[in-house]
């Protein structure tokens, strides 16, 4: 268990383009982090740099206060689980799970109970004697996971979209088990995913990445409520944040002629900047009296279980609204309210306040 510090670490696979841009990143001891971002944004590269499968072209990797930048993987004592199951075909399930411990020189008396414990946690107890080759894809990934979890003395546990190949109905259960296991051992966990639900439910802190760069890091709540730019706003949430082009009128901001924001800081903004307000579909409300609020026309309602995603048209713009199904919103005119405490101001695409 250790703090991981990437000091000005960057990596390029031999071209001028950096797969991972030079950055300082700190992963604190015992916390669970999620790296969230689309494919090819540098998430896996960052994991491989931490585990030593890749030596970064720039910067230093500090694990537990020690510079491990050029230390071979085997010496770093880091566990990693890959996206696709990697199992040792020639070994049984038991031997697969015991292998990391044997490599670290544990004695037999300690290995057996530990393997039994992990097998129990992952529901593999009945499979222990079987050849790993004969398992289903799900079970193989469980074995891979088990090999990652079996050592309780690792500096960090890195997981690279480990649930991609797992059956959807098992995902929820497994996520809980992983969380359970890592809570128990207090590992530093870095979890790569492109599934925001996974990231938001699993992690203490989420790092949103794009094009080799960490765009924003924060608690799931921070990312949801105050995305630092339009990219994060669109990426997090389903559907993403509404971004509405507004015009300045003194201290006020007008959207389609309606005032949506008022703050003395608005008046001090440099002219010519592109101004937008962002509001989550979840935060848009309806005016109950039918007089106040902004007149809109609902053009389509999608039912998602107990919530509806509503497509509202206001003037020349569209707005996504998420509302409880019990409100039974139908196509037609409606008055909406943008709560000012939930509204964020973006100047040239970046969060101002």
């Amino acid at each position: 268990m250790a703090t991981i510090h990437l000091e000005q670490v960057g990596h390029s696979y031999g071209s001028a383009v950096y797969a991972l841009e030079k950055t300082d990143i700190l992963f604190e001891d015992g916390k669970t982090y999620a790296l969230l971002g689309p494919s090819g944004c540098g998430k896996t590269t960052m994991l491989n740099v931490i585990s030593g499968l890749l030596y970064p072209s720039d910067g230093r990797v500090i694990v537990g206060g020690k510079d491990v930048t050029r230390m071979p993987t085997a010496k770093r004592n880091i566990a990693q689980v890959f996206q696709f199951p990697v199992i040792y075909q020639s070994k049984t399930v038991y031997e697969n799970l015991a292998f990391p411990l044997r490599c670290r020189g544990w004695d037999k008396a300690r290995i057996a109970p530990r393997v039994a414990e992990i097998a129990e946690l992952l529901g593999l107890t009945a499979r222990l004697g079987q050849s790993a080759r004969r398992l289903t894809a799900d079970e193989k990934q469980l074995v891979s996971l088990g090999r990652g979890l079996v050592r309780n003395d690792v500096s960090a546990l890195l997981m690279d979209e480990p649930l991609t190949v797992i059956d959807p109905h098992m995902k929820f259960d497994l996520r809980r088990r992983i969380k359970q296991a890592s809570d128990k051992t207090r590992h530093t966990v870095v979890y790569v995913t492109h599934d925001q639900n996974e990231a938001m439910t699993f992690a203490d802190e989420v790092l949103v990445m794009s094009a080799g760069r960490v765009v924003q890091r924060g608690t799931p709540q921070q990312l949801f409520e105050s995305p630092c730019n339009r990219y994060v706003g669109n990426f997090i949430g389903s559907p993403g944040m509404n971004f509405l082009s507004v015009e300045r009128d003194g201290d006020r901001l007008l959207w389609q002629g309606f005032p949506v924001f008022s703050d003395e800081r608005v008046g001090r903004l440099a002219p010519g900047a592109e101004l937008m307000v962002g509001i989550r579909p979840e935060h848009v409300a309806f005016a109950k009296d039918g007089v106040t609020g902004i007149p809109a026309v609902v053009q389509g309602v999608q039912h998602h279980g107990n919530v509806d995603v509503i497509d509202a048209v206001i003037g020349s713009e569209r707005l996504k609204v998420k509302a409880r199904s019990s409100l039974a919103v139908r196509d037609g005119p409606l008055r909406i309210v943008l709560p000012v405490e939930r509204t964020r101001l973006y100047v040239d695409g970046t969060l101002l306040f």
């Binding site: 499968l53 071979p72 993987t73 990693q80 199951p85 040792y88 075909q89 990391p100 891979s144 090999r147």
Partner: protein, 279 residues
């Protein structure tokens, strides 16, 4: 029995006959004498022809024959050790070529692999004179050691070629995982990749053994009398009157180990325990 299986078994039966016919022919001929061979196709001993052990005796020091035991042993030793060394070196070389990037000037991994394979592009005759001179210089002409060295040069490219292809098909993640689990790169190879690669090694070994065992040309050009190999010894059976019975017996005895190898390899591969699939 459904029609399809009848047809299937019929096809297998026809093919078996096709495969077994020459072997049966050689087997009956090996027990015949000059009279039996020239009096038309007969297959049943005592009924079609009078069986005789003359053909077999001629292989084991009988009148007008040879002693096949020594050349046979020579062949086993030379082919066996050359194949073993080629497999060991070839597997190691192939793993390196598959996993690490080498660069010397403009020479890269692909060039090195091609360099290995290119050794087998030239017709053997091109190599015969250099090999002869080199062995002469080392005083290894007509010795088993000399032949082993030459055969390694011939078999190593086969082993490297097959194993590079095999290792390229083994995902790197296996090695990476082993290193994460605490193995050094060599341990990752020995403890994880190697046990997973037995099928590839088996196939490469089979090819080495077959090529080595069947070589006549180098065995012929690089030896005289002391270190005859089996193919050369068999050829020396031929005289003005072709001894079909002796040749048949020697054909059977020299093809026997290859049949054994083929059966063993087939058994092991089909048992699935060595199947190469990783995921």
């Amino acid at each position: 029995m459904p029609l399809l299986s009848i047809l299937k078994y019929l096809a297998i039966l026809v093919w078996s006959g096709f495969v077994m016919a020459p072997l049966t022919w050689a087997l009956t001929t090996s027990f015949k004498t000059a009279n039996g061979v020239t009096s038309g196709p007969t297959y049943l001993p005592w009924i079609g022809y009078e069986p005789s052990l003359a053909g077999w005796r001629s292989l084991f020091g009988g009148a007008g024959g040879i002693d096949i035991v020594r050349p046979y042993l020579n062949s086993v030793i030379v082919t066996g050790s050359a194949s073993l060394i080629s497999i060991v070196l070839g597997t190691l070389a192939a793993y390196g070529l598959s996993r690490f990037s080498y660069r010397t000037g403009f020479v890269k991994n692909a060039d090195i692999v091609f360099f290995f394979i290119s050794q087998r592009i030239m017709p053997p005759i091109v190599l015969a004179i250099p090999f002869f001179l080199m062995l002469q210089f080392l005083d290894l002409l007509d010795t088993r050691l000399g032949l082993v060295l030459v055969y390694i040069a011939l078999l190593l490219p086969i082993a490297v070629w097959i194993m590079v292809d095999f290792f390229d098909g083994v995902p790197r993640q296996i090695d990476e995982m082993a290193m994460l689990d605490g193995c050094t790169p060599f341990e990752a190879f020995r403890r994880v990749v190697l046990p997973n690669s037995l099928s590839g090694i088996l196939v490469a070994a089979m090819f080495c053994l077959i090529f080595g065992w069947n070589d006549f040309f180098f065995a012929f050009t690089l030896t005289f009398t002391d270190t005859q190999l089996l193919p050369v010894a068999i050829v020396s059976l031929n005289s003005s009157v072709t001894p079909w019975w002796s040749l048949s017996a020697s054909a059977l005895i020299s093809v026997a180990p290859l049949i054994v190898i083929a059966i063993v390899v087939e058994r092991l591969l089909s048992r699935g325990t060595l199947a190469g699939a990783i995921r």
